[in-house]
């Protein structure tokens, strides 16, 4: 990437900004004129008033930010018992006034004339590890939980449930440095980063949960991951997924669940699988993916869509409500951003949201990386525990 004087200055300042991956590059948002902390009380009002009159500067007619896991459970009427938590905000949305479109060339658009001068002092934060990573659930505990959930599956209380483990260390990180390092090895389509004064998030999420343009809504669930080796290619990855009963069943379940979630807000007869069970290739792995879309009913609000689709089913399990309840009773520690959603809502009601997985949250000098993998009937505790580690590894490696 070309060096850009403005970006260099921005990176070496204290100014908050957000980067979101787009198909042919990255969009960077900054100069936030509004910062809205969401809670269970103000979220309804926030979602109701988000449709506004558009201004001339079209790419800036949006709010960008994230919903944490807890606030999404709450919107669905699911209460979480008291947990250990960092008091991290339940959700934050920003109104940017400057966008930097990072493509082959860099384009900057701003509502402020003097945006180039809006920097205070130089500031640089370095990566420091103050304590090694620790996991919150060791293999013995994990096996116990696994056994308990397997029993629930046999009783039909859940069909599939994703057990979440969390890696934590004490550290300060330079999110810009982490993010671009990560993008070199894994520029996943829903990658993003947020750098704010007292926290940062670095993510290489692969999963699009909502893409809404006009009255068309799309989702793209992933269920099935295969690591790349010298012997794998896209064709034998596909036959691996097709012949693997566990992966196939998990995938089928997620497809039917996402169809049903879309059906809550779409016109009958319009929900269809636009691309069914195919493989997407990334630098280090393959994903088994299906594209689903539908036409929205009239009079559907932004809140209706969020409640129907979030938290994204593929990272929770199925059926969603009973599985969420099982998870919430089990988990002693807040998920914070994990399995929440990051994205934007435009003033015209269009939106794009991902599922927050494969992410680092750094807050109060603590980094946390949460991962989850599925207990279904054919899985074993040891394999799923290992899969969790593989998912976390590329992020943990950034600290080396």
């Amino acid at each position: 990437m070309k060096k850009n004087f403005y970006l260099e200055k921005l990176y070496n300042s204290k100014k908050p900004f957000i980067i979101y991956k787009v198909r042919d590059g990255y969009d960077l948002y900054t100069d936030f004129s509004e910062k809205i902390f969401l809670n269970n009380k103000n979220i309804n009002n926030f979602l109701k008033k988000i449709k506004k009159k558009e201004t001339k500067n079209k790419p800036l007619n949006l709010h960008i930010g994230f919903f944490g896991y807890e606030i999404l459970c709450n919107l669905n009427g699911i209460k979480i018992p008291k947990q250990k938590d960092l008091k991290f905000p339940k959700g934050i949305f920003y109104k940017p006034e400057t966008i930097v479109q990072i493509r082959k060339n860099i384009t900057i658009k701003s509502s402020y004339k003097n945006y180039k001068k809006l920097f205070k002092k130089k500031y640089f934060i370095s990566n420091k590890i103050l304590s090694p990573f620790k996991i919150n659930i060791d293999i013995t505990k994990y096996k116990k939980i696994f056994k308990k959930f397997s029993k629930k599956i046999k009783e039909g209380k859940t069909y599939q449930i994703k057990i979440c483990t969390k890696y934590k260390n004490k550290s300060t990180i330079n999110p810009v440095n982490f993010f671009w390092k990560l993008m070199k090895t894994n520029a996943a389509p829903e990658s993003f980063m947020i750098r704010d004064k007292n926290y940062s998030i670095v993510s290489c999420s692969p999963e699009t949960l909502i893409e809404k343009k006009g009255n068309i809504i799309k989702t793209k669930p992933i269920a099935g991951t295969l690591r790349k080796t010298q012997k794998t290619n896209i064709r034998n990855a596909l036959s691996y997924f097709r012949n693997n009963i566990k992966e196939t069943k998990e995938h089928n379940m997620i497809v039917d669940m996402e169809r049903s979630d879309l059906s809550k807000v779409c016109k009958p007869g319009t929900v269809r699988l636009s691309k069914i069970k195919y493989v997407e290739e990334y630098k280090h792995l393959y994903h088994y993916v299906t594209k689903i879309e539908g036409v929205l009913q009239k009079n559907i609000s932004i809140k209706n869509i969020i409640v129907a689709m979030m938290p994204g089913g593929s990272v929770i399990g199925c059926p969603k409500v009973s599985t969420l309840n099982l998870l919430n009773l089990q988990e002693k520690e807040s998920r914070n951003i994990f399995t929440g959603s990051f994205g934007f809502i435009k003033f015209n009601g269009d939106m794009r949201f991902n599922i927050i997985i494969r992410s680092i949250l750094n807050y109060k000098n603590i980094s946390e990386i949460s991962v989850a993998s599925g207990a279904v009937v054919d899985s074993t505790a040891i394999n799923e525990f290992k899969e969790n580690y593989i998912k976390a590894k590329s992020l943990i490696d950034l600290y080396k």
Binding site: K154, Y159, Q160, D256, C266, V271, P319, V321, S322
Partner: protein
Amino acid sequence: MIYIIDHKDSFTHNIVHQFAKFDKNIECENFNKINYSKLNKADVILLSPGPGSPKDYPISSKIYKKYKNKKKIIGICLGFQQILFNENGKIIKQKKIYHGFQSLVKVTNKKSLFIKNKEFKVGRYHSLKLKEPFFSKNFEITMRCKISNVAMAIENQIDQIYGFQFHPESFLTENGNLLIKKILSA
């Protein structure tokens, strides 16, 4: 009007859309938030799939007993088991569990609305099954899993009660719409 009783499942709205192909007037409410005046007006009651077993849902059992013989009743997955449970059938755990599984089903009974010996693929999401032998007045087991022989459909033409252990609304089921069309017009 079709009244769908949702047992908070993640497949229910696929059923809503499937039935909307044949009846524009559909109500869908959670099992613990039933609107009884609407329920009373319905021509068809549908018991949805859902987690757990029939004994976990006494409200749905009550509704079944109240409206049996008065309205057409359809049960899918858990709903299928609820019908059987209320007809003194036993619902038990099965050794092999089918969640997201596509398997071959065969029409095994000539009293069925469907042609005997016809085979087709269906999507299944169940860890429990009907314990056999099962007998109840006017009920016939009409479809079975081709491999395991587990009961996959029941029909009671006299009281107009129909149930599927598999999911006609799943993308894994062939001709799901045809199945629903036939029982709705029966």
